[in-house]
């Protein structure tokens, strides 16, 4: 083998310019793959994190009937314990399930405010300040003031605050229908401002202490959903299974829907399909680049027909000849992939610091949680996988022309002078 490797290495250096162009072609495609993967990883990670942190948790527990009527923000299908024994008791039980790290009970309701004479529709979200602070996603976007603690305090989205035309520290009366459909009003003090950069949240949502929300809506010890967090997004499936088992054991699996984060929004599903399609695109891309390698190898083989005949005559088996040539191709491919990872990594690193936000305009009217700027992910794992993509595919590709060389009859090959 080392003898064959020596031949292959020597052959590579026979025409350096030609070799260089083939390596360059592979390097360019691998660099593109590195960057595209980094971009897509960055996009999906930030988008998924937004959805997980604000909408679903790793696993979302809601009332089975709430699922189809969520757009109405109904208050009559709540999470109120396995058998109606109350939210607090349920949370205490769920805490014991393996893998559960954080639980954020939330109580969502529709509300309106009319400062001056406009009517502004909003969504109120009752949150448990303690557990929210512990998890941290909500608190980290607070740009002014503080988190709500208890009593009649609200944390308001930045654009909503502008719409309401009030300032931090001022009071606002909010109108809503309670669980018995009667129309009520209550006055709150704005203690904090939250800014995420996402219109969908900043313009319509405010947060208040869960206890206050429960009391004013007549939903004592109830919530509309529980967001459950485990150790990480990859463990969500397992966490869902554990929770489902627990619900079955409690006999409450009909009453509640236990949904992993990716099941909560069909958008995520399409996104994940798209990510898989991209894997095919990478392969396709590298194949396109490999055409250069194939062309070069076909020429090399044509050039060395006499040599191949000689090697055969000297006793090299056709398998060895196959090895010599595919090794030559593989070395070019591996070297090219290695070379491509460097500029690809550099570009990815640059943009991972600067971010890309050319499509932010169109998000204004979109009703999805999408990160307004993409920060591509620069990770060694990505570099390595892209390198592997390039190296493996080019190696496989180079077997094809090498087979032609191996199939030649030594006598014919020797005879065919060019």
């Amino acid at each position: 083998m080392s003898f064959l490797l020596k031949i292959a290495l020597r052959n590579i250096t026979r025409n350096k310019f030609r070799t260089f162009v083939s390596i360059l072609a592979i390097a360019v495609v691998v660099a593109i793959v590195v960057f595209t993967r980094g971009l897509l990883l960055g996009f999906s990670e930030s988008t998924f994190r937004l959805i997980v942190d604000n909408q679903s948790g790793h696993v979302r527990i809601i009332n089975e009937e709430y699922k189809n009527r969520e757009a109405l923000i109904p208050l009559d299908q709540t999470v109120d314990g396995f058998r109606g024994e109350g939210l607090a008791a349920m949370l205490a039980d769920l805490k014991e399930v393996t893998g559960v790290e954080h639980m954020l009970p939330r109580l969502k309701f529709g509300a309106i405010a009319s400062p001056g004479d406009e009517m502004i529709t909003m969504m109120g979200i009752g949150i448990d300040p303690g557990s929210e602070a512990e998890y941290g996603a909500l608190t980290k976007d607070i740009t002014a003031g503080r988190m709500v603690e208890d009593g009649r305090e609200i944390l308001v989205g930045k654009s909503l605050l502008d719409k309401l035309d009030i300032e931090l520290g001022e009071r606002i009366t909010i109108l809503f229908s309670d669980a018995y459909q009667s129309f009520q009003g209550r006055t709150f003090t704005v203690v904090g401002v939250r800014e995420t950069g996402l219109k969908m949240m900043d313009e319509a949502m405010f947060y208040l202490p869960l206890a206050e929300a429960q009391q004013m809506l007549y939903l004592d010890d109830e919530a509309t959903e529980i967001m459950v967090f485990g150790s990480g997004i990859r463990e969500a499936e397992q966490l869902k299974e554990n929770l489902t088992d627990f619900f079955v054991a409690q006999g409450a699996d009909d009453k509640f829907a236990v949904l992993a984060w990716q099941e909560t929004d069909p958008f995520i599903e399409y996104f994940q399909i798209a990510v898989r399609i991209y894997d095919v695109i990478y392969v396709f891309f590298i194949l396109l680049g490999s055409i250069v390698l194939i062309n070069t190898m076909i020429m090399i083989i044509r050039e060395r027909t006499a040599e191949i005949g000689m090697m055969g005559a000297l006793g090299l088996k056709s398998r060895d000849i196959l090895k010599v040539f595919s090794l030559e191709g593989a070395i070019m491919g591996i070297f090219g992939s290695l070379l491509g990872v460097i500029p690809g990594g550099m570009i990815t690193y640059y943009f991972s610091q600067v971010g890309l936000d050319y499509y932010a305009d169109m998000l204004d009217d979109m009703e999805i949680l999408i990160a307004p700027a993409i920060y591509p992910v620069f990770s060694l794992e990505n570099l390595f996988i892209s390198f592997l993509f390039g190296a493996v595919i080019t190696t496989l590709v180079s077997i094809w022309p090498a087979r032609k060389a191996a199939q030649m009859e030594p006598v014919d090959a020797l005879h065919r002078e060019i």
């Binding site: 025409n15 310019f17 030609r18 162009v21 083939s22 360059l24 072609a25 360019v28 495609v29 593109i32 009527r69 757009a71 109405l72 109904p74 009559d76 529709g110 309106i112 009319s114 004479d117 406009e118 009517m119 502004i120 529709t121 719409k163 229908s177 459909q181 069909p266 958008f267 399409y270 891309f285 396109l288 680049g289 055409i291 250069v292 194939i294 062309n295 070069t296 076909i298 020429m299 050039e303 050319y358 499509y359 305009d361 169109m362 204004d364 009217d365 979109m366 009703e367 999805i368």
Partner: protein, 412 residues
Amino acid sequence: MYLLRIAIRNLFRRRRRTIVTAAVLAIAIIIFLVVESLMAGLTEMSYDNIINLESAHLEIGREDFFQDDYKSKLRKSFSLEQELRENIRAIEGYLSHTAMLEFNANITTGRDEFPVQVRAIEPESFQEILTNANYIIAGEFLSSGSEGLVIGSQLAEMLSLEVGDFYTLLFQDQEGSFNTIEGEIKGIVSTPHPEMNLSTVFYNKEFAYDALRVETGRANRILIRLDDRDRAIEARENLLENLSGTGFAVRNWEDSAEMIKAMQAAGQIENYVVLGLILIIGGIGITNVVILAALERMEEIGMMKALGLKEKEIVGIFALEATGIGLLGSIIGCIFGFISVALFSNFGFDMDFLGGTETTYGIPIMGRLYGGWSPWSFGLVFIFGIFVAFLASLIPAYWAARKDPIEAIYRR
């Protein structure tokens, strides 16, 4: 001419190499054309939906009406004075107009409540402007003299409403006090514009004035239909000029389609990037082909030089050969691109797999998507493919032509 003949002959010497390299360019072109068609189709469909179902070609409202859409719209009503009507009629290409009163309300049906935008319309003139009435799937659309509410299919489904069911609209009237309109659902529409199916409802304007406490005859939004949508830009300018100083704002359909335009722009950038990337690979492929050809034909190059061909002419031969590959790639790409786009624009494909009726993420399209044609993009990529091939061949061609003739012949 002589050089061209050599180049063409050379092109056929290694047929497989020529075709494979041209295929890379062709693939770039096909992908570009199909994506371009997809986007054109998407944009066209969105424009149609916006024009036919949402805002017609031109709309007039008071300046503050369009500025902050969440603030009490009823305060921004105006009466259609003679002068305004004359101005509207004077628009070039004017077909008809309709006046409506638009306001926000919450629709309730007992236990559930949902925020909607109510369009209080004049049924007759409205139907000359927008086509919502054609999409009725149950009951009937509004007609003058009869009361009732027309809602979208998605709203009906969500609130489990049927024709004949009772509803209540809760809103703030012009004075700011809460008031309601009650009655029966008269019809349900299911349009290709998702927003119209969920959060927009229609009511007969003549019955609305009392409850809204708006003086009879007033409106806050006028929609105008022209004979050609391309006239809208100019018409808007003219109308603005005539209405200057009166506090009216004029928007054309493109203003309502800003998100679509942003999407299209973003999509276009992406498409050009992808085209560029594949063409880079194609370019490297062509550089490689020229190098390989030059290496193969060293003796020939030496011979040509010995026979008196200038360096420039040798460069020309190689560049022509590469351009030939580019031409071949462009032709193959455009033919297959044409076939794909033709299939796509004739048969279209169903967008239901994108979540069907429930989720459309604010994009005003539903149902079947047909590809659009954009002839100039064919021309663009055709030329671009050839140009890239030509450009990629120059450096290696110079490299080949520089070879010393004696050394080149003697190489072996």
